[in-house]
């Protein structure tokens, strides 16, 4: 069994979101839903994180930032795109400055559509991401040598 699923730490990045999805992400951590029950902690530090939650679509300004956060996270890691803007660009898709969803710059594992995505949907997405995290963790160990 992989311990990654027992203590997934998240980092949350707001791309160009309207803050609707951000509020819902934070709502997951409040006493109402209490994600810390599952050992989930909002770290705010890519080097400590396992799951990258991104809200809002990608534009010219945050493209490099998202790439950098993703690259700073140590393996195994998963990316969850939250909200329709992060999934595909949503209503902003054809804006002159919008590149599209998060998958335009980094590989996304789970899409959680919605405007705004409800906390239940976000929790469901994170739980699905845990399964992928476990697979990635196993794959990393089978490769061998890289992780002690």
């Amino acid at each position: 069994m992989s311990y990654s699923t027992k203590s997934p730490w998240i980092i949350h990045y707001d791309g160009s979101s309207c803050n609707g999805c951000d509020i819902e992400v934070l709502a997951c951590l409040t006493p109402m839903y209490d994600l810390e029950r599952f050992g989930i902690v909002n770290t705010g530090n890519p080097k400590h994180a396992d799951i990258l939650l991104i809200t809002g679509s990608i534009n010219e300004q945050n493209r490099d930032v998202v790439k950098q956060i993703y690259e700073q996270m140590p393996e195994p890691k998963v990316v969850v795109a939250i909200g329709i803007c992060a999934t595909s660009g949503g209503v902003f898709k054809k804006c002159y400055n919008i590149l599209g969803g998060v998958d335009k710059v980094i590989p996304v594992d789970i899409y959680v559509p919605g405007c705004a995505a409800r906390p239940e949907a976000i929790i469901d997405g994170v739980v699905k991401a845990l399964r992928i995290l476990e697979e990635k963790s196993k794959a990393l160990h089978n490769k061998g040598g890289k992780v002690q």
Binding site: E36, G44, H48, Q148
Partner: protein, 289 residues
Amino acid sequence: MNVLYLVSMIGYIVLAPIFGLVLAGLDRKVSARMQRRVGPPVVQPYYDVRKLMEKDQVTVNKVQDFYVFCFLLFIVITGCIFFAGGDLLLVVFTLTLANVFLVLAAYSSNSPYSQVGAERELYQMMAYEPMVLLTMIGFYLAVGSFNVSDILNGDKMPIVTMVGIFVGFLFILTIKFRKSPFDLSMSHHAHQDIVKGVTTEFSGRTLAYVEIAHWYENIMLLGIVFLFFCNGTWWGYVIGVVVAAVSFFLETFIDNSFARMKWQVALKSSWVVSILFGLINVALLIWVF
């Protein structure tokens, strides 16, 4: 007698992380209950450390891992000296050395967060160091020896003549446990003004070492609290263990009741408490008792 101390030393190396992680887990659980949350399982810190061990390690430079390993090593040595009935002054100096390694590890990367964290860690050391020294001097004046073994088997309870020093020590325990209002350099809670302070640039195994060192350190500090109540009898030891447990949960309570303060407040308040309670008590020990 020497064999007994060897056993207690090995007992510390083996059991301290177990007790430490349960205490850390209970701390999170109690905090969660105070915020009307369910909270993570008690063994959550164990899961965290196992996960960090499994993770890939991103290191800024090689020397950083060495410093953090030395931090862990010297924290364990500190506890070993203490639990082997060694010299209390040696315990203080080794503890300081361990913390210096942590500061060096934080300074070794260029990240502004870890740099500011390292500076704040130094301020914290400035804040608590006088009181720690006064505590040890107090033990010498009250019992007549710096040796933990002599204090453990002394004929009178140190707390009787060291109430002020005990209050002062509880005050700086907040800094040592890294609890609010004095969790300036590194907080156990999610977001902070300087992200994760000292540990911002650590990842994987290195971060796990910091966490394990924290468990060892907590048990050693609670051991000093225990020492205040030792008078060579079994009920003295029972009182010691109970008070140590109560003081740990008092710190959890303080942690959840206060907001983080500036380093100026931490430094000033802890020095005022050190002088008011520590120094006056030491003076009383010298001239009155």
